[in-house]
């Protein structure tokens, strides 16, 4: 399944285990709000070119960890590296430029920009994006190239017919798709999706899953937060389980489904809810 299949086969199934070729390595990251320890991750490595799901009950610190890793929040201590480069204290916009882009749990579509503009704004290295470049630069050529790329991507996500509509007029599911497509315009190496399936209807969920697998097949690394275990089982190469701010288990999906700690901390609750 993975772009380099079987690479995780010989990795031990224990929290904090080292990966053969980690693109992202986290060490001793801690964040507390008031007296509450929101995140406390001793060690976590993310394998390049895989789909890693981050699961755990509400309040386990998954989104906070995303915020910390992408520079939207700052930890009290700890450090983490992307491709070997330290990311501590790097502002969020620079994290994105370094190749790690995130989406948000509550979709942030730029409502009064058209769908196409939403895509174009995300493109990297635009000459016309600087003040003087915008006024006097020759940006039309780059713009045309970006537009072509954006339209291809919109087509892939089934949004091309909406290109000239305001993003604010899209449905919730379409916005999720747009947000993912827009994140890809940044040409990231790592894409971090915060509950991409939440509030999306089943048909769209299938196509979203297809897109996520396709990303991995193109060599990108995907980390995503998800609650639905079926989804996680279906597409993940590796699953990381968080509870009360820390990583309590990691391993391939099948291993996690059988792990008692996980069932206690998380799955048990969900199974109890199911009819």
């Amino acid at each position: 399944m993975a772009s380099n299949p079987g690479i995780l086969d010989n990795v031990a199934r224990e929290p904090g285990v080292a990966k053969p070729d980690p693109i992202l390595a986290i060490e001793g990251v801690r964040r507390s709000f008031g007296g509450l320890q929101a995140v406390s991750v001793e060690r976590l490595e993310i394998q390049r070119g895989t789909i890693t799901s981050l699961i755990g009950p509400n309040g386990a610190g998954k989104t906070t960890l995303f915020n910390l890793l992408t520079g939207f929040d700052h930890p009290q201590e700890g450090h983490w590296h992307l491709n070997g480069g330290a990311l501590v204290g790097v502002p969020s916009f620079r994290v994105a430029r370094l190749g790690m882009v995130r989406t948000f749990q509550l979709t942030k579509s730029l409502a009064r920009l058209t769908v196409l503009e939403n895509m174009l704004v995300a493109a990297k290295d635009q000459v016309g994006e600087s003040f003087w470049g915008g006024l006097f630069g020759r940006w039309r050529q780059i713009e045309a190239a970006n537009e072509a790329r954006a339209m291809t991507s919109l087509q892939r996500f089934g949004l091309d017919h909406m290109a000239d509509e305001y993003a604010g007029s899209l449905s919730g599911g379409q916005r999720k798709l747009l947000e993912m497509a827009r994140a890809l315009m940044v040409e990231p190496e790592v894409i971090m999706l915060d509950e991409p399936m939440a509030g999306v209807n089943p048909v769209l969920t299938e196509s979203l899953l297809g897109h996520i697998s396709a990303l991995r097949d193109e060599g990108k690394t995907v980390v995503f937060i998800e609650h639905d275990m079926d989804v996680v089982q279906e597409i993940s190469d590796w699953v990381v389980v968080m509870s009360q701010g820390g990583v309590i288990a990691e391993g391939p999906p099948a291993h996690i489904a059988a792990n008692h700690d996980v069932i206690d901390a998380y799955l048990g609750l969900h199974h109890g809810e199911k009819p």
């Binding site: 992408t70 939207f72 502002p91 969020s92 916009f93 620079r94 994105a96 430029r97 882009v101 995130r102 989406t103 948000f104 942030k108 579509s109 730029l110 409502a111 009064r112 920009l113 503009e117 939403n118 174009l120 704004v121 995300a122 990297k124 635009q126 000459v127 016309g128 994006e129 600087s130 003040f131 470049g133 915008g134 006024l135 630069g137 940006w139 713009e143 305001y166 604010g168 007029s169 827009r182 994140a183 315009m185 940044v186």
Partner: protein, 328 residues
């Protein structure tokens, strides 16, 4: 009540010098508020800094044109100083600091400490002779009937609407570029822009500074017309006039500030003329006297601003579609 006179006076105001000045000032604010979503409540400070920068330069023996450059540079510096502490924080912090800074700056300009430079409360006069001496228009009245302007006013109007045209072209180029698209993205959602690798703080700072420089142009233009700068001209009210103009015309639109300003001054003079006549004719049962016209006008202005912001946030002619999106 002489309706024709009131209407013609209102029409004159809609194309006159103040309308041009406010179109300019509102274009600067529109870049900040309409396109970038910045709540700059101290826009009047840019106007003041521009006007004083120019007047002081001339007063100290510089040329008017050097003064214009000085005014613009000072406005850029002001934007930088106000932006650095506030633009990383929520929108309201910028509003608080800018409105405070505007007032404090006015206090400093009128103080006896700054008097050697600013001439205190009396201000500086007659610094724009260079411009008025260039007037090629023969002495006379131009226009039809009551709708007439003298040669001096026509010359100033030419400058004003000329500046409006130049700035509008500049804004057209700027806002249609990827830079303009990025600041609109920031207006819609800062975090989204950050997550896409945009240096939000840098863009906001640029927008604040450039908008301020345009505001300074407006201030200089008004000062050139009046040949007079005094500190107490630059009260916070002027900022809110500009806000009303921007919202009337439609925030984040290229021509909004221009139509907004014309409508604003038309309504303003209409109301003024109506109130004056109505009070003279005793229409309000003697409740109000002539001195109340000013305050009543400002109270109505406040209501108008509230009404606009609540019911027509996309401007009088704003698209219905955009309005619906805004409500979500």
């Amino acid at each position: 009540m002489d309706w024709l006179k009131i209407l013609i006076d209102a029409g004159r105001a809609a194309v006159g010098v103040p309308a041009a000045a406010y179109a300019l000032s509102a274009m600067g604010l529109n870049l900040q508020f309409g396109y970038t979503g910045l709540l700059n409540f101290g826009h009047v400070a840019s106007m003041m800094v521009g006007a004083y920068g120019m007047a002081i330069t001339v007063d100290r023996g510089g040329s008017l044109w050097l003064g214009v450059v000085v005014g613009i540079i000072l406005a850029l510096i002001l934007g930088l100083l106000l932006g650095i502490p506030t633009l990383r924080l929520r929108a309201d912090y910028l509003a608080i600091v800018t409105i405070a800074a505007g007032e404090i700056l006015r206090l400093i300009v009128r103080s006896s400490w700054a008097e050697p430079l600013t001439k205190g409360i009396l201000g500086i006069q007659s610094f724009a002779d260079e411009f008025h001496d260039l007037n090629p228009i023969p002495v006379g009245l131009y226009g039809l009937g009551r709708f007439r302007f003298d040669e001096r006013t026509v010359w100033v109007m030419m400058l004003g609407w000329g500046l409006v045209t130049v700035v509008a072209l500049f804004m057209w180029k700027l806002t249609r570029s990827p830079w303009g698209r990025t600041i609109r993205a920031i207006r819609e959602d800062e975090d989204a822009a950050l997550s896409l690798g945009k240096n939000v703080f840098g863009y906001k700072l640029q927008s604040l500074m450039v908008g301020g420089a345009i505001g300074a142009l407006a201030g200089m233009f008004l000062a050139i017309d009046q040949q007079n700068v005094t500190p107490d001209t630059y009260i916070p009210l002027l900022t809110f006039y500009a806000f009303t103009v921007v919202i009337l015309g439609g925030p984040g639109t290229l021509l909004g500030p221009i139509t907004g300003s014309m409508i604003f001054w038309f309504l303003f003079k209409l109301l003024d003329g109506f109130m004056t006549d109505a009070i003279l004719n005793g229409w309000f049962f003697g409740w109000f006297e002539a001195t109340d016209i000013g305050p009543i006008r400002f109270a109505l202005f406040g209501m108008g601003l509230m009404w606009l912001m609540i019911f027509r946030p996309q401007g009088l002619f704003g698209s219905h579609e955009e309005m619906l999106i805004d409500g979500q």
